[in-house]
Amino acid sequence: MKFGVIIFPGSNCEHDVYHMIGKVLHQPVEFIWHQSRDLASCEAVVVPGGFSYGDYLRTGAIARFSPVMECVQKFAATGGLVLGICNGFQILLEAGLLPGAMLKNRGLKYVCQHVSIRVESSSTPFTSALQTGQVLSIPIGHMEGNYFCDDHTLWELEANQQIIFRYCTPDGQTTEAANPNGSLSNIAGICNRSRNVLGMMPHPERASEPILNSSDGLMIFESMVNALVHS
């Protein structure tokens, strides 16, 4: 089950993801350049964090026009697993693979800290090794993580259980104070209707080994491996 990690000019978390998949999970992993027109027979794709194309116009706005994103669109449409982390999530939103958009953080500041997030649904290929209601400690680092969508989209996300992670207190309460960026409904991560595309602002690859103070993020990648093994 080979993983592909996409690199755009300005990506900066690709090596962390590559290390975690290859050295911690011991799975085959390959980088895929943004100009590539095929996904090198990868069975799961990670769109990592960073500042693709400098994020000058809007986060992810230019990256979505990359040749590789056409492949990712097709891959996702045929059920392939796509995980977007931070800037990767923003790119998936711009590409229309996930609904909604990101606004600047409520406090207008870059926020870089460990946060608690609650697993809202374990019925995705990304969260099957987790329990619904489980609280994970995973860091965030972003300026535009204030998730927004219109009322109807939020209603759909709720109705289809597409909200997968919510910011919460360490004991699992989704309070306003536990919301680091003003995200609608404390949303930290969502999936698409078919549940094979997940976007999340927290960085699971930065919480995947004991030396990093948390291994909670590893379970997301372990879930993906399980899903691929059983498919």
């Binding site: 706005a61 026009f65 609904p99 409520r106 927004f148 969508c149």
Partner: protein, 80 residues
């Protein structure tokens, strides 16, 4: 031919930057300011051989597909 494209957050979307600037202006004594919305401005030089209709078409296409995210933003433009 020059296109001026103004992009702003939709009215239904909170604009914390605009709000902060509004507060600052009030604090500086500009008490007549009722609301501030911050946006983006693009000054685009177009091929002079384009007709006005072609220019409008090109600008609208760019604005819709690249310059704005229709989920949160709207735009107006003028061509001189």
């Amino acid at each position: 031919m020059r296109a001026k494209v103004f992009v702003s957050l939709k009215k239904s979307v909170l604009d914390p930057q605009g709000k902060t600037i509004h507060n600052s202006l009030r604090n500086l004594g500009y008490s007549n300011v009722e609301e501030v919305r911050q946006g983006k401005f693009f000054d685009i030089l177009l091929d002079t051989n384009l007709s006005l209709a072609e220019a409008r078409q090109e600008v609208e296409k760019m604005a819709k597909s690249v310059l704005t995210n229709p989920v949160i933003e709207e735009y107006t433009y003028q061509i001189d």
